[in-house]
Assembly symmetry: C2
């Protein structure tokens, strides 16, 4: 399984991805799901991938080949991120259609984002069918893969005004929640922070398994959540039993 | 869709359920998914249901009929919660097998719990196939229905030592997270708190749509989460861009 999230706030875009790939529990590997196609000063395009690994790798190989051969349409000459999404969507659905006769699942889903020239920065989710959607002010993020565990925290925290560092924390906590609840999502965790308007190479960090920072973040968040719990409005009607003196004698 | 959660801590059991039922988005109704079969002083049994509403209602009708007719096995004479789970599982799989010839999904899943006589208090999840599982110290809760959104908070907060009132807060925050992320889960929210060893009728509360308490809980939690975020270890490498003076001029 996979979990990737991209967040678009006014000041830029944050991408975050795990690296666990599995074809059954006894075939677990680690592959990066974050790829960049940058031309500093002109464009910063990042791509996150989930789904069938063969499809994903075929699409990436074709993207790189098209850039190298200066194909008529490639990620270094498209004039907008929507054009980039159309192009990747077409590569992906073409690749899947090679296998349409059998019943296995060859689908891949992508998130593409960044900024091309002076167009606004943007993120887009590309469905296996090749069509795609963008974000809204109410939902300034996109997720692919195992997305449900990590969604509530994003729903609560993110607005277009969120700073890039808070958006980064939100992405990492969302990733941590997903890893805690689902073993098929795991490190290394990659993060990529692009500042809107800069057209400069994004800030990139990779956290390996056992990363000191990830552990500190996790412990800190666990503790904050417990503190937050203790500050919730008291449930007086439920409290009564906690306070009864014979509680310690209850059957356990 | 449905979301129900039951939590078993040393001092008792908390049950929590939503009430939204849908067969497509234009056929949304409200049905209670929480049912009790109590004999004060002898047993306290609560049942949560998810899945096909016709199957659920048929199972409930049969449970009530068996109690009324003092059938050989019924929820008022079983001698343990495991026997109760076997009985409900059999009713459920029998009901589903009536429709096994067509392709629609008639499956239902249940959580049963409480306490029978002097046996330890317990909760069990009954699969559509009629088999069932209990909790462990590491995972002192069971969920049915749309369970992923509300799982991370339970994973972080609950241990067997958690008090009944904290477990109740956890159940309500888990429910709130699910409702925020999935429109097919909704109020009224019912909650039922059983104190271990008491064999007394559980504390029951029902929160209607627009409940003052639910709103207060939600607002408080939203605020606590933001506070918790602000106290996370600073991401210095991500901070640099937030602090740059020209941030407000970025493309948005």
């Amino acid at each position: 399984m996979t979990y990737c999230v991209a967040i678009k706030v006014n000041s830029g875009v944050v991408f975050c991805s795990d690296s666990r790939t599995s074809a059954g529990v006894d075939h677990v590997s680690s592959y990066s799901k974050m790829h960049s196609f940058n031309l500093p000063g002109d464009r910063q395009i990042s791509l996150l991938s989930s789904g069938n690994l063969a499809t994903t790798q075929a699409v990436l190989a074709k993207i790189e080949k098209d850039i190298k051969s200066s194909a008529k349409v490639n990620l270094h000459n498209v004039t907008s991120l929507r054009d980039a999404a159309s192009y990747v969507g077409e590569l992906s659905s073409n690749e899947q259609s090679k296998h349409s006769s059998d019943e296995a699942n060859y689908e891949s889903t992508f998130i593409i984002g960044g900024q091309v020239a002076n167009n606004p920065h943007k993120i887009l989710l590309i469905y296996p069918q090749g069509n795609y959607i963008s974000t809204s002010d109410d939902t300034p993020f996109l997720q692919i893969g195992e997305s449900k565990y990590g969604k509530p925290i994003l729903d609560r925290v993110l607005t277009p005004e969120t700073t890039l560092s808070t958006a980064t924390s939100a992405a990492l906590v969302s990733m941590d929640s997903t890893m805690k609840s689902n073993l098929t999502v795991g490190p290394p965790i990659e993060i990529n922070i692009y500042k809107a308007g800069s057209l400069a190479t994004p800030l990139y960090k990779k956290f390996e398994e056992g990363s000191e920072y990830l552990r500190e973040l996790k412990n800190s968040w666990d503790q904050r959540i417990l503190e937050a719990f203790n500050k919730l409005p008291p449930i007086e009607w439920a409290n009564q039993w906690d306070q009864s003196p014979d509680e310690q004698n209850s059957i356990s």
